[in-house]
C-alpha cells in the first residue's frame, strides 16, 4: 500500500491523471528516451525550443534525447475513415529552459487524440484538459481560442506574412498600442484596426466573447464561429463550465496549429501549466491525412505550488549503542512504525536531522 502522505504533488497528479485518461479509453503510450534526430530537424519550429541534446549511437546514427512527445506519437499510425488513436503518456523531455537557458529535464503528462475526429473528440480532449487541472487544484482556469477565426480575419485585413506574424505577437501580448502602430505602418483602415484590437479584449466568459466575436467577424469565419458556439454549449454541461473561458490572446504557431488551442493556469503557478491544441497542419506536414488534438501538462511546475513545509524530518530519532542488542533495536523501530510514526535509528543525535523527539531504545514504551 502506498501512503499518500509520502507522495509529492506531481507524483499524486500522475496517478490521478492515469486513472482519468484510462476511464475515457485512452491507452498508455510508452516510448524510448531517444529518437532519431532527423524527426526534429524537419519540424524544428513545432518544438518549444529548437536546441536539442544529440549523441551518436554505437552504429553512428544521430539520436536525440526527446525534447517533445507529440512528434514521436504521430510519426507512425493509420489514417482512415472512422479510425482513431487515443493515447496518454507520462514522460520526461529534455529542453533548454527559457528562464535559465540551460538544459532541463521536464516531467510531462498529456494525451493525444489522432484520426478521423469530429467536434465530440475536440470537446472530449478540452474537457479532459479542464478535468486534469481540477485534479491538481480547484483554483484553475482553462482558456480556449480558435485560430481559424483569427486567421481568417487577419487574411481579410492584410495578407502580408510579416504583418500577420507581428500582429499575432501583439495579440498574444495583449498589446493594443503596438498593434495600432503596426496597423498604421501597413495602412490598415481604422475600422479594421479597431476590430483587430477587439481580439485582444476577446477574453472572459464564453457567451460574452462570442458576442464580441460576432460583432468583429461579420461574414468572416462563420463555420469556425459556429464550431466555437457549439463547443461552448457542450462545455456548459461540464462541472467546470465557469472555469473554462475564451481568450483570443492564446495563440500557437499557425504553421502547425489550427482550430482550437488552449492553455491552463493554476493559481500560484506563474505560467501556464497546460498547453494544447489542434494540429491538423502538423499532421499534413508529416504526410498524414488524419486530424489531431492533444495537450501536455508540465508537472515540474507543480513545485511552485505553495506547500506546507514539514517542521520535522522524522517523528522520532531512536538512539542505540553497543549495549543494545540489534534485535531490541529492530523491535523498537517496528513498534514506533506501528504507531504510525516515522523513525530514524541512529548511534548519536545528528543535529542535521530535525525530529519531534529523541529517545533511547529502553524508553520506547514511553513514546507519545
Amino acid at each position: 500500500m502506498i501512503d499518500e502522505k509520502f507522495l509529492k504533488t506531481e507524483e499524486r497528479a500522475i496517478f490521478a491523471l492515469r486513472s482519468l485518461y484510462g476511464t475515457y479509453g485512452y491507452l498508455p503510450y510508452k516510448m524510448s528516451k531517444f529518437e532519431e534526430y532527423e524527426l526534429y530537424v524537419q519540424n524544428k519550429d513545432f518544438l518549444v525550443s529548437d536546441r536539442i541534446i544529440t549523441f551518436n549511437d554505437t552504429n553512428g546514427r544521430l539520436l536525440a534525447l526527446k525534447p517533445d512527445v507529440t512528434l514521436s506519437i504521430i510519426k507512425n499510425g493509420e489514417d482512415g475513415e472512422g479510425v482513431k488513436q487515443k493515447v496518454y503518456y507520462n514522460e520526461n523531455v529534455y529542453r533548454v529552459s527559457e528562464n535559465t537557458h540551460h538544459y532541463k529535464e521536464i516531467m510531462q503528462s498529456g494525451l493525444e487524440c489522432v484520426g478521423d475526429l469530429d467536434l465530440y473528440d475536440f470537446f472530449e480532449v478540452i474537457s479532459l484538459a479542464a478535468e486534469s487541472l481540477s485534479m491538481i487544484s480547484q483554483d484553475f482556469v482553462l482558456e480556449i481560442s480558435h485560430l481559424d477565426i483569427l486567421s481568417a480575419f487577419l487574411d481579410s485585413v492584410c495578407p502580408d506574412a510579416a504583418f500577420r506574424n507581428q500582429a499575432l505577437r501583439y495579440i498574444a501580448e495583449k498589446n493594443p498600442h503596438d498593434l495600432q502602430r503596426l496597423c498604421e505602418k501597413y495602412e490598415v483602415s481604422e475600422e479594421n484596426c479597431e476590430k483587430l484590437s477587439g481580439f485582444i479584449y476577446a477574453y472572459g466568459k464564453r457567451d460574452a466573447v462570442i458576442g464580441k466575436l460576432s460583432e468583429i467577424c461579420t461574414g468572416v469565419a462563420n463555420d469556425a464561429l459556429n464550431e466555437l458556439k457549439m463547443l461552448s454549449k457542450m462545455l456548459d454541461e461540464t462541472p467546470y463550465k465557469d472555469k473554462i473561458l475564451f481568450d483570443f490572446s492564446v495563440v500557437n504557431d499557425m504553421s502547425y496549429y489550427n482550430g482550437f488551442v488552449f492553455k491552463g493556469f493554476l493559481n500560484g503557478i506563474c505560467e501556464g501549466i497546460l498547453s494544447g491544441g489542434q494540429y491538423d497542419k502538423l499532421m499534413a506536414k508529416m504526410g498524414r491525412q488524419s486530424r489531431a488534438i492533444g495537450f501536455a501538462l508540465y508537472l515540474d511546475l507543480l513545485e511552485q505550488m505553495p506547500s506546507k513545509q514539514n517542521a520535522y524530518d522524522v517523528d522520532v530519532v531512536l538512539l542505540y549503542g553497543d549495549g543494545n542488542s540489534k534485535i531490541d533495536v529492530a523491535r523498537a523501530v517496528r513498534s514506533i512504525c506501528e504507531k504510525g510514526m516515522t523513525v530514524s535509528a541512529q548511534r548519536s543525535a545528528d543535529p542535521s536531522v530535525r525530529c519531534r523527539q529523541i529517545i533511547k531504545v529502553s524508553e520506547v514504551d514511553k513514546i507519545c
Partner: protein
Amino acid sequence: MLNVALPKGRLGEKVYAMFEAAGYECPSIKENNRKLVFVNEEKGIKYFLVKPSDVPIYVERGAADIGVAGKDILLEYQPNVYELLDLNLGKCNMAVAGPKEFYDDGIKALRVATKFPNIATDYYTKIGRDIDIIKLNGSIEIAPIVGLSDVIVDIVETGTTLKENNLEVKTTILPISARFIANKSSFKFKGTQIEQIVQAIKEQLK
C-alpha cells in the same frame, strides 16, 4: 494582495505618482530611507523597488503581478508577459550611433558595441548586414572613440552625451517608452484588480 515591481529611480517615482493618482497610494514609499518593499494593507497593494532591467524577471516569475519596464528591456529579454499599456513615460529612441566621420562601406563585418545584443542582432539581421557584436555593460559611447567598435546601438534621450563625445545618431531603430506589464497567470486570477488599475492609469494618459 497585488504585488507591483517598480523601477528604482526617476521613472519609478513618476510611475508611482500614476498609481497614487489611480487610488493605490502607499505613503511610506516617499519616506527617505533604504526600504525596498512598501505595503498598503488597506488598499491590498505591495510595491517593490528593483533595478529597472530586473522588473520583467520579477513579473515573469510571478514574484510581482504587475510592473513597469522600458520597451528596450522587454525587447532585449523577451519575457513571457502581457504588455497592457504604453505609459508614454521615459520616451527615447534605440539608435545606431557612431563617430561623425564614420561611413559604413559594407566591406567588413560591422563592429557593434551594445548593452542590447538581441535588439542589435535583430535589427542588422533584418537589413542583412554582417556584424560583430561586442556586449558591454555601460559607458557604451567610449567603444567607437577608443576603436573597440565602429558603431554603438544604444538608447538616445537628448543626444547630449553623443554630441559631447563627437558622435552622432546614424539611424533610429525604434522609439522606446515605459510599458505596463502583467504576469499572465496573475492576470487570470487577479484580473479584475489589474484591469481597474490599467483603466485608471489610462484615464490619466488621455
